[in-house]
């Protein structure tokens, strides 16, 4: 493939620089271009992963759309219902409540996790026991969420759960288990999530705190700030992008993981903890209404993708320098 190139006169005109050093520029282009080398190598290396991923994500994604437009049943063949599945979502109180509960649940979890996580990080930062304690705090994150759910199910148990005993002893709970009461069940879930994931916020914040420029802190101290002022005026703005990422990641994980909820309450009592992903699970795999489920899943996916876009935007923002910031190799001189 040989193509002629239009001469780019504009870019070739002589450029006068500071000291009057005029360099000779050319005002013509090359006669013909050499054939570009084939990039087969990279395409071959990428193909297996991309194709596999496409097969298990894009294909199912179209299936999801297909299913959401049909009445899917195990016994009979699928029947086209158009947007019926979606239309019915609007009248479905459990669906709209599912969103509200999801937001409520996430808000509670995130607020507590950020508050406790940041305080913990500030205390740990530079402490003598930082290394040991951080390792200990990693333990809950390594636990399978479903096992975490089971352990806490046991701890909350109304007759022999240690945390139930603790809550009773402090006087914040009566005979009823935290999970059995409509008013407290959500808190029971939040506590487990906070227990498991606050350390992640702590770790992220610690990583951020280590990157707070020392000179800014020192300058601020010289300007007369105390440690508290220092934290709010220097440290916090610096760790803010880290926290933003933590918030988004946790928020998306609240969409992703419902394992412990399935164990602890299964959405009950009543519908008090039936956050949208749990409702989706019930519709699809308890009642096997796969078409309805697909419609719910589709709406959930769209919201996740939007959140993901925001997250990637933050990843890419060079000003925030969240990632380690190593510049890529430049090839030109």
């Amino acid at each position: 493939m040989q193509k002629t190139l239009r001469a780019k006169r504009a870019s070739f005109s002589a450029i006068e620089e500071d000291h009057g050093y005029a360099a000779r520029r050319l005002d013509y282009g090359p006669g013909a271009l050499n054939e570009e080398p084939k990039r087969r190598y990279h395409i071959l290396l990428m193909a297996p992963a991309i194709l596999t991923l496409a097969a298990i994500t894009i294909y199912p994604f179209f299936w999801l759309i297909y299913m959401s437009l049909h009445k899917v049943s195990v016994a009979r063949s699928d029947r086209w219902v158009g947007l019926d599945n979606y239309a019915r979502l609007f009248g479905d109180v459990k669906y709209t409540d599912g969103w509200l509960l999801l937001v409520k649940y996430s808000a509670l979890c995130l607020t507590l996790e950020i508050l406790i996580g940041v305080v913990l990080a500030v205390i740990l930062n530079g402490s003598r026991f930082e290394k040991v304690l951080v390792t200990v705090f990693l333990m809950p994150m390594m636990m399978s969420p479903v096992v975490a759910g089971l352990v806490w199910y046991y701890l909350y148990n109304g007759t022999f759960g240690w945390y139930h005993w603790l809550f009773q002893s402090i006087g914040i709970l009566g005979e009823t288990s935290i999970l059995a009461d409509i008013d407290t069940a959500m808190w029971g879930l939040v506590i487990v999530d906070v227990w498991q994931w606050t350390p992640l916020i702590t770790l992220i914040t610690l990583a951020g705190l280590k990157r707070v420029p020392q000179d800014q802190l020192e300058a601020n101290m010289v300007d007369g700030a105390g440690s508290l002022r220092n934290f709010f005026t220097v440290s916090l703005p610096n760790i803010y992008p880290f926290l933003l990422i933590a918030i988004l990641l946790r928020f998306m994980d609240n969409f992703r993981f419902i394992d412990h909820i399935l164990v602890l309450t299964g959405g009950g009592p009543g519908n008090a903890t039936r956050i949208l992903p749990v409702y989706l699970f019930d519709v699809s795999f308890q009642f096997f209404k796969l078409g309805r489920g697909a419609a719910i899943a589709f709406t959930l996916l769209i919201v996740t993708i939007v959140l993901g876009l925001i997250l990637v935007r933050i990843f890419d923002d060079p000003k925030k320098q969240v990632a380690s910031g190593e510049a890529g190799e430049t090839t030109d001189d």
């Binding site: 070739f12 002589a14 005029a22 360099a23 000779r24 520029r25 013509y28 090359p30 271009l33 001189d333």
Partner: protein, 362 residues
């Protein structure tokens, strides 16, 4: 051991032109420096020579062989990279042995050649170390060792000593030059440091904005720069390039400036009139000017602006009519700042450049 011809080579990155219509001939065994500031296309040129970058247009020949389509391994080249590009997980010996291993040389020969090269570079005591344990200078020697273990047709050096400190750089310049002459391998050496180019090269190719400005011996480049750009880039302290107007007085051409007038005669005078240009840039190197506190006939009058000691010499900047002349003189010069002083010049060392195109008109 091969001659290199670069013929009408262009390099595009998308729409951006990195190298424009480059033509260069390196003789067999010659040491050619490609000199220019960052972004001038010198690295692109080197990478096209190495086969790391596609040649957008034109061709490159090693001897009579067109190498455009050859993979780097088939070009019989060896390259030293700016950041050394050593294999961090391999020892010094393994790093240096790598090209020989790739070529399938037997073990005993490899060991011997590596040891020889290491001895030559005085790094034989470091052979078991990993690159992280080495200083910058040592890493640089290993990188050089990696290219000299075998006898390739062409050495390519991409700013190999740019990251060393000044002292070490001076020493490596001598050693590299010696090594190259000793081995007689055709060498292309890319640098932005004009001192490196002047001191090492047989010939220098000066590039700017992707265009080859001048190709010649260091002496030619230094004493006959083809344009103001080359004149300003090569030489330290830089050449004085003062914008003047051309006038004639009784058929004799002269350059006029707010602060002085220079009468031209002979060759310079003819050249000044030939182009019919109104303005010319008067160029003269600081070492070709003399400054004195005493008035002398024809001298340019000015005041001392600054004095900077450059070791054995003194650089005096003299202000005259809003322009500054840099003069290299002996530290014995007594003129303090703001004192009137007089600059005398020898027109035999002067250059005239067109103010419009920047080209030398002599």
């Amino acid at each position: 051991m091969v001659a290199i011809s670069i013929e009408n080579v262009w390099k595009y990155y998308g729409e951006t032109v990195a190298v424009q219509d480059l033509n260069l001939e390196c003789r067999d065994g010659e040491f050619v420096c490609v000199l220019g500031p960052s972004g001038c296309g010198k690295s692109s040129t080197m990478r096209m020579l190495a086969g790391l970058e596609h040649i957008s247009a034109g061709q490159i020949l090693f001897g009579d062989k067109r190498i455009n389509e050859l993979a780097p391994k088939d070009r019989d080249i060896a390259m030293v990279f700016e950041n050394y590009a050593l294999y961090p997980h391999k020892t010094v010996a393994e790093n240096m042995a790598n090209p020989l291993r790739m070529a399938g040389v037997d073990k005993a020969t490899v060991t011997k050649k590596v040891l020889d090269a290491a001895k030559l570079l005085e790094i034989d005591h470091l052979l078991d170390r990993k690159p992280v344990e080495l200083s910058g200078g040592q890493k640089q020697r290993v990188a050089i060792g990696r290219v000299i273990v075998r006898q390739p047709a062409v050495y390519l050096f991409d700013e190999p000593i740019a990251h060393l400190d000044a002292k070490l750089r001076a020493r490596m310049r001598t050693e590299l030059k010696h090594l190259q002459q000793h081995q007689g391998v055709t060498t292309v050496y890319v640098t932005h440091d004009q001192l490196e180019a002047l001191s090492m090269a047989d010939r220098i190719a000066v590039m700017h904005d992707g265009v080859l400005q001048q190709f010649g011996t260091p002496a030619e480049i230094y004493s006959n720069p083809v344009n103001t750009w080359v004149a300003g880039f090569v030489g330290e302290p830089t050449m004085n390039l003062i914008l003047t107007e051309v006038a004639t007085e009784a058929d004799r051409p002269k350059l006029t400036h707010k602060g002085f007038t220079i009468d031209l005669d002979g060759q310079l005078g003819e050249a000044a009139l030939r182009g019919n240009e109104k303005a010319l840039r008067f160029g003269i190197r600081p070492e070709n000017l003399k400054v004195s506190l005493e008035r002398s006939p024809g001298a340019i009058e000015g005041t001392v602006y600054t004095r900077q000691l450059l070791g054995s010499d003194l650089l005096v900047e003299v202000e005259t009519g809003n322009d500054h002349f840099r003069v290299r003189t002996s530290p014995a010069f007594e003129g303090e700042v703001d004192r009137p002083c007089y600059i005398s010049y020898d027109l035999g060392h002067a250059h005239l450049f067109s103010a419009e195109t920047g080209q030398s008109i002599v």
